[in-house]
Every structure is written in structure tokens, then in C-alpha cells.
């Protein structure tokens, strides 16, 4: 999941909790304030009536159109002793003009008048207005809570998203980074301290990585060079032994077998040199030609050799395949694919080569699928390798493909090992 959504999801419960607590507290407080106001009004009203009564003035009529109600009655001293002097209750009373019973807030007081009589005064006011107000406040509280919550989350998400832009630029750069190719400079951190730090570190690391990579190539190149001379000496001495007229059959076979090993080493050293040079443009000149030409030439060379094992080459040139690359590398690429098919073919099998505008397809019959992960890495022979094969041929083909942006793929289909070389690099674009 993307970082923005993670942040949004993590913020959400907290924001929800805080705004909820606020909303609930706010609501409670409002309710209480409203209730207190109503009670205060009742108290004032009651006091006013009490004063008028004690002063002997006229009392307002109970059905004067206002919603307020009062009642005055005399009570016994016992009643006075057993009841609260002042009390508030929620009750109901009967509204004359409406002919209904409504909920009301009631305020009762018991007092003694000038003649020593105990009087109970009851004052009441309907509460549906109070309830209405409270209800409205509640609804608006909820609305405010929800909208505040939504706005905060959206703002957080947008802000995080925008603040992350330099990071995404850097990630984009990392995605397109390939070894050995010139790369664009690392994007800066957009002024954000942490991203600047990240950008600087990545720049340093990539420079170091490039340097190491170049060093490694140089080392392989130098080591391979150094090996050439001792190999020449070894081969030369063995050849001299083979040329000795006093050579016996036994010696001859033994010496020849050592010579074969020396030849394998020479081949390996040459391949290593080639691999260490492939990424450099210094050694290779590109030209435009039809890959089909290279394929048919190689097919011609191999045909004669393959008949020894009864293997037939089936070449089909469906359309010209224009490429722009170094011709010798094209030859190495094609011949390695054909050689590989040969190595994994059974006696009497067929290797099919198909060339069309998109590239080359090499197929040969097989029993078990090869391990796709392993076959392109160096020195993995995967069984069935012939003597002198170090399993480096496919990784060479892979390195050449990468140099020119081709896509080399393997699949095991209908009992056949199929290698496809896509010179248009289509698969890469679909990424």
C-alpha cells in the first residue's frame, strides 16, 4: 500500500477519537447549559409569583396563553416536613389550550406565608422547545464532527502527498537505474532535509557502485590478459611434446588430453575478456544489417558439425530482421543460442530457427524444463553440459542482449526448450 494511504489510515482513528471526544463533551456542555437556563427561568418565575402572592397582589391567570403553568395550594405541616423545600423534576402536565399532555420541567417550592400557613408552589414549563434545541445542537455537532474529520483527513493526505514528491522522484530514478549505462543525475531532495540527505547518499553510493563495477571489469580484463602468456607457454610445450617423433600412443593420448584442458582454459579466458568488455562502447562499432544473414551463416557452419549426432537444423527466414549492432557480437549471440540448443538436444533431434521482423526463435526438443533463474547466470551448467562447456554461453548471450536493449527469454512449451530473442525490446516497454 502506498505511504499516503497508510498515513491516512493511521491518522483516521486518532482524528476520529479526538473530534468525537470534543463533540461529545461539547454536546454535554450545551445540554447542561440549556438545562440550567431553563431551570433558572423557572426559579425566577417562581420567585416572582411568590413575591406577588406574599404581597397580596393579583396572580396571573393560568390560562393566559403563555406556556407557563403554576399552581398554589396549602399543605399540612407534615407535608412540609416530609418534602423537599425546593425541587426540580421532569414530569408531564396537561396543557389546556392544546388539550394534550406534554412533557415539562417542574419546580416546586414550599414556603410559609404571613399567616403561618404552609404553601406549596408548583411552576412548570414545557420542555419540547428545550428538547428541540438540544436535538438541533446534536445534529449540527455530528455534522461538524464529520466534516471536520473529512477535511482534516483530506488535507493531511494532500499535504503528505505533495511533501513526498521529491521522494517519488528519487524512487523513479532508482527504478530506471542500470549498471554500466550512463544515468541522469540523482534528483535533489527538493529542499527537504531528510530527502536531501537521501539524495546525497544515493549519489555517493551510485558513484561508488559504478567505480566498483568498472574496477571489477578492469580486474577481469587484466587477469585474463595475464593468463594468456602462461597458457601460451603451456600449450606450446604440450604441442612440442606431441611433435616429438619418440611419442608413444599412450603418452600421446595423455598429453592430448592435457592439451584439451588447456584449450578449454584458453576459451574461458577469451570469454571472460569478452564479457568484461561488452558493456564498453570502446570496442564495438554498430552497423545496420539483417540478423537473418548472421543466422543463416551460422546455421550453415553448424549444420555440417551437427550431423555427427544426427541433429538437423531447420531454418526458417520469414522476414528480414533489421538490427543495428556490432556484427561480431551478433555472431557470438546467435552461435551461443544455437550451441546451447545443441548441448540440450538428444541424438537425432531437430533444432528449429525462426527469424522474423521481431527477432529470432530457437527451439529444440527436451525432456525437463530448465531453471529459468539459473541458466542466465554464469557458470551454472544445469546438467547435460558437454565437456568444455562452462555454462557461460547463455550469460554471454544475455549480456549482449542487454547491451542493445533486446529481450532474451526462455520457456518450456509443448516439450520444447524455446528461446526467444526480441530485438524490438517490446517486453521492456510493457513494464
Amino acid at each position: 500500500m502506498r505511504l499516503v494511504w497508510i498515513i491516512a489510515l493511521r491518522l483516521t482513528p486518532w482524528i476520529a477519537a479526538v473530534t468525537l471526544i470534543w463533540a461529545v463533551a461539547f454536546n454535554r456542555y450545551i445540554q447542561r447549559a440549556i438545562n440550567d437556563e431553563v431551570d433558572d427561568a423557572l426559579e425566577d418565575y417562581s420567585q416572582m409569583l411568590m413575591v406577588r402572592y406574599l404581597a397580596g397582589e393579583d396572580m396571573p391567570s393560568t390560562s393566559d396563553g403563555t406556556n407557563n403553568y403554576y399552581a398554589i395550594r396549602e399543605v399540612t405541616p407534615l407535608y412540609r416536613e416530609t418534602h423537599e423545600m425546593i425541587s426540580y423534576i421532569d414530569s408531564t402536565y396537561f396543557l389546556d389550550y392544546k388539550n394534550e399532555t406534554e412533557p415539562a420541567r417542574v419546580y416546586k417550592t414550599i414556603f410559609t406565608d404571613a399567616e403561618g400557613r404552609d404553601i406549596e408552589m408548583v411552576v412548570a414549563t414545557p420542555t419540547f422547545e428545550r428538547d428541540d434545541i438540544i436535538h438541533t445542537v446534536l445534529i449540527w455537532s455530528v455534522a461538524l464532527f464529520l466534516s471536520l474529520f473529512a477535511v482534516v483527513v483530506i488535507l493531511c493526505t494532500l499535504t503528505v502527498g505533495r511533501s513526498m514528491k521529491p521522494l517519488y522522484r528519487i524512487i523513479g530514478w532508482l527504478d530506471s537505474f542500470t549498471f554500466g549505462k550512463d544515468s541522469k543525475p540523482v534528483p535533489t531532495g527538493g529542499g527537504v532535509k531528510e530527502f536531501e540527505g537521501l539524495s546525497d547518499h544515493i549519489r555517493e553510493s551510485s558513484l561508488k557502485a559504478h567505480a566498483l563495477y568498472e574496477q571489477q571489469k578492469e580486474f577481469i580484463g587484466n587477469a585474463s590478459h595475464e593468463l594468456q602468456t602462461p597458457l601460451a607457454v603451456m600449450g606450446g610445450k604440450l604441442e612440442m611434446l606431441l611433435n616429438d617423433p619418440a611419442l608413444t600412443e599412450q603418452n600421446g593420448e595423455a598429453i592430448y588430453s592435457i592439451l584439451e584442458t588447456q584449450r578449454d582454459m584458453v576459451r574461458l579466458v577469451k570469454t571472460l575478456l569478452l564479457l568484461s568488455r561488452i558493456d564498453s562502447d570502446m570496442y564495438y562499432e554498430a552497423e545496420e544489417f539483417d540478423l537473418g544473414d548472421v543466422v543463416s551463416k551460422q546455421a550453415g557452419i553448424f549444420e555440417e558439425i551437427f550431423t555427427g549426432r544426427g541433429i538437423t537444423l531447420d531454418l526458417s527466414l520469414r522476414a528480414p530482421c533489421p538490427v543495428n549492432m556490432d556484427r561480431s557480437l551478433a555472431t557470438v549471440l546467435v552461435s551461443n543460442l544455437i550451441k546451447n540448443a545443441y548441448v540440450h538436444s538428444d541424438e537425432g533431434g531437430t533444432i528449429s530457427l525462426v527469424v522474423d521482423g521481431g527477432g529470432l526463435r530457437v527451439a529444440n526438443s527436451g525432456t525437463r524444463p530448465l531453471d529459468k533463474e539459473k541458466i542466465f547466470s554464469r557458470f551454472a551448467t544445469g546438467g547435460g553440459a558437454s565437456k568444455g562447456s562452462f555454462g557461460i554461453g547463455l550469460s554471454m548471450a544475455g549480456a549482449i542482449s542487454r547491451k542493445y536493449g533486446f529481450v532474451l527469454d526462455y520457456s518450456f512449451v509443448d516439450g520444447e526448450h524455446v528461446f526467444t530473442l526480441d530485438v524490438k525490446g517490446r517486453k521492456k516497454q510493457a513494464r
Binding site: 604441442e239 611419442l247 593420448e253 558439425i305 555427427g308
Partner: protein, 226 residues
Amino acid sequence: MKILIVEDEPSLRGLMSDTLSREGYLVETASDFPTAEEKVHLYRYDCILLDINLPGGCGLDILRTLKDGDRTDPVIIISARDTLDDRIEGLEKGADDYLTKPFHLAELSARIRSVCRRARNSGRKGITLGNVTLLEEENTVTVDGVPLGLVRKEFDILSYFMQRPGYVVDKVQLSEAVWGESADMADKYDFIYGQIKNLRRKMAQGGATVEIKSIYGFGYKLVELG
């Protein structure tokens, strides 16, 4: 024929020296730049084998000295560097041939022979051994003046042997030379056996005094009969 070997690595120097001495050349050696420079200054040679990486200097400088002095001693550069640019540079600086390590001794011998032939330019074209004459440019082989009808591969095989007479050539070496480097994949060499069998038959039928002899099943050698 006098040959100068300029090579700093002692084993290789000794190897080349032994092989060429055995072939009958008079061999002198130099193991560093100053010695090589001195020898070249003092003597003329029929062929100079020049290693580029020398202690004390670069072999190409010796080449330059030779060319500046209008010397015609044929030079074969011997080097571990095998890129096209290196070869081109060497040849453009005036070398007559460029041989990369590691190489077959037979190859060394063949190249020296070829370079000397060109230098001598004695008007006799082609290679002659016994009563067999092979003309490279015309792709023809004659035995006592009578042309031998050879197919392409047979001609290539015979040509290869004629440039290395008396040297053992094993089947892998032959297949790589005539069929190309890709031939290293073959594990059955029937395709070679067939060609050689036909070639031998044609040469015998033509009455050739040279023969391609089998060596213990791993190689062949061109020898003169009698």
C-alpha cells in the same frame, strides 16, 4: 635464416627459440627493450618476433625505429591484446603480421614462413612441398603440374597442412581453423574424417609425394614421403 625473438617472459621465449631452432632457423633473443634496441641497431634479421609489453619500453617503439630507418626486416607482433584496434594499430605502424597469445607453435611457424615468402617475393607463387604445389589465390592444387580436383573444404584442409609441414595438427585445431571457432562444440568429428579420407584418396591417386599421416587418432601431420 636469422630470427630475433623479443619477448620478456622466459618460458615463452625459450619455447619459441627451441621450436624455431629445431626448424633450422638461427635464433637470437632479447628479453628487454634496451637489448632489443641494441640488437636491431647492430644486425639485420630475416624475421623479428616482437612482443609489445617489454620492460623498459614499448615494443612499438622498436617498430618505429625500424621504419624510420627504412629497414625491411619483416616484423611479426606477438601480443596478448587481441582487439581489432590493437591489430590495426600494429599493422598500420608497419608490422607485417600480428599474432595473439596464446597461439599454436605450428601457427607461429606458418606465419614466419608466410611473412618471409612475401618478403622474398621470389616470383614463385604458392607453396610447394614434394611434387605438390598449392596456389592460394587461384584455389588450385597441382601434383606434378596436373591439377587435383578438390572441393572447397578439402582445399582448405590441404592448404592448412601445407603451411605447417611436419607439425602435428590435432582434430580440434583443424576443425576450428577450417570450419570456424564454432566448431568447438562438436564431440564427434565425423565431418573431418570424411573430408580427410577423400583428400588422401585424391592425393594418392594423383601420385603426390606428400601425405597426411594420422597421429594416434587425435591428429594429423603432413609429411614428405621417401
